[in-house]
């Protein structure tokens, strides 16, 4: 039994060979944005659109570590308490903070599926939740790529921050390969 119910965004092919830093950055941002929009649509039915950054800070943020043989980094998913309350209600959850942690887990999971297709694998940490006023993520690396994605919907805003550092010769292949990774919602009985 193998079944899936989701329409998925497709991996992006840039060119043959390996990606340079600029292309990598574009791809990372594209993939995390795709993954987020897709996730929120799947789990809540709400469409989140990309917006420019402004003087807005999340009230609660989930933080999740990323680690692999040739990659290290972290991702955050932050939102307002009111937006999170709506998202949690849609998930039939009476534990909004827990749901945000799980959303961060699923977000990075979707992002990982796209990155793995380009030849780089990594593991996800378990999420940690932080709440407060004017939460602001700071990168340790002034010279390394880290970026923020802002999305908005009818129920509020989310902010995603991603730091994804390739090292030890790690590079993303320009062309994604389908290695048989199962997609979201897919079920396989052995």
């Amino acid at each position: 039994m193998r079944s899936s119910h989701h329409v998925q965004f497709q991996p992006v092919k840039i060119r043959d060979g390996l990606m340079n830093t600029a292309e990598t950055q574009v791809l990372l941002e594209d993939y995390i944005t795709q993954a987020a929009k897709e996730l929120f649509l799947d789990v809540s039915g709400f469409l989140f659109e990309s917006i420019e950054n402004s003087d807005w800070f999340p009230e609660i943020t989930a933080v999740l570590g990323i680690a692999g043989t040739c990659v290290a980094g972290s991702a955050t998913l932050g939102t307002s308490a009111s937006c999170l309350a709506t998202l949690a209600a849609k998930a039939n959850s009476d534990m909004p903070e827990d749901w945000l942690g799980e959303l961060a887990n699923q977000l990075v999971g979707r992002f990982k599926r796209r990155i793995v297709a380009h030849g780089v694998d990594f593991s996800l940490g378990t999420p940690t939740l932080i709440s407060g006023e004017r939460l602001h993520v700071l990168s340790r690396f002034s010279h390394k790529p880290a970026f923020t994605v802002h999305l908005q919907s009818d129920i509020g805003r989310v902010e995603i921050w991603l730091e994804f550092e390739l090292h030890h010769g790690g590079e993303l292949s320009a062309e994604p390969q389908d290695d048989g990774t199962l997609i979201e919602g897919e079920a396989l009985l052995f």
């Binding site: 039994m1 119910h5 998930a91 959850s93 990075v108 990982k112 396989l188 052995f190």
Partner: protein, 124 residues
């Protein structure tokens, strides 16, 4: 006493969602927050008919729990469904080798999960 599904996930919300789905299908539910707790429940709760288990959890992840169940040999007749954000072939193969009976990638559709649970707990 009805059949019981053990739900192992570090997210209380996911445990709640899975629990709701399988309760509506007539099962009772017990929960665990990680693989170590999951092993403890298997040893101490009677009538567990099936396990739904995440991969990425603190203390002991789902694959480690699966492999420990296989190593101990006592609960290998209980079918285990992996429910996770992961989906790579090598992990699926590792789970299958360790005795898992199904793999579902989150987010799950309740009817699909229940169909898998029913199929695995009511063998033809």
């Amino acid at each position: 006493m009805g059949k019981t599904v053990l739900v192992v996930d570090d997210s209380a919300t996911v445990r709640q969602q899975v629990g709701l789905a399988v309760k509506q299908a007539g099962f009772e539910v017990v929960e665990a927050g990680d693989g170590l707790e999951g092993l403890d429940r298997l040893k101490n709760v009677v009538n567990i008919a099936l396990v739904v288990c995440d991969i990425n959890m603190p203390n002991m992840n789902g694959l480690e729990m699966l492999e420990q169940v296989q190593k101990e040999g006592k609960f290998t007749s209980i079918p285990i469904i992996i429910l996770t954000t992961e989906g790579q072939p090598d992990q699926v193969a590792r789970a299958k080798k360790a005795g898992a009976k199904a793999w579902i990638v989150k987010p799950f559709k309740a009817e699909l999960l229940v169909a898998a649970v029913n199929k695995l707990t009511h063998p033809a």
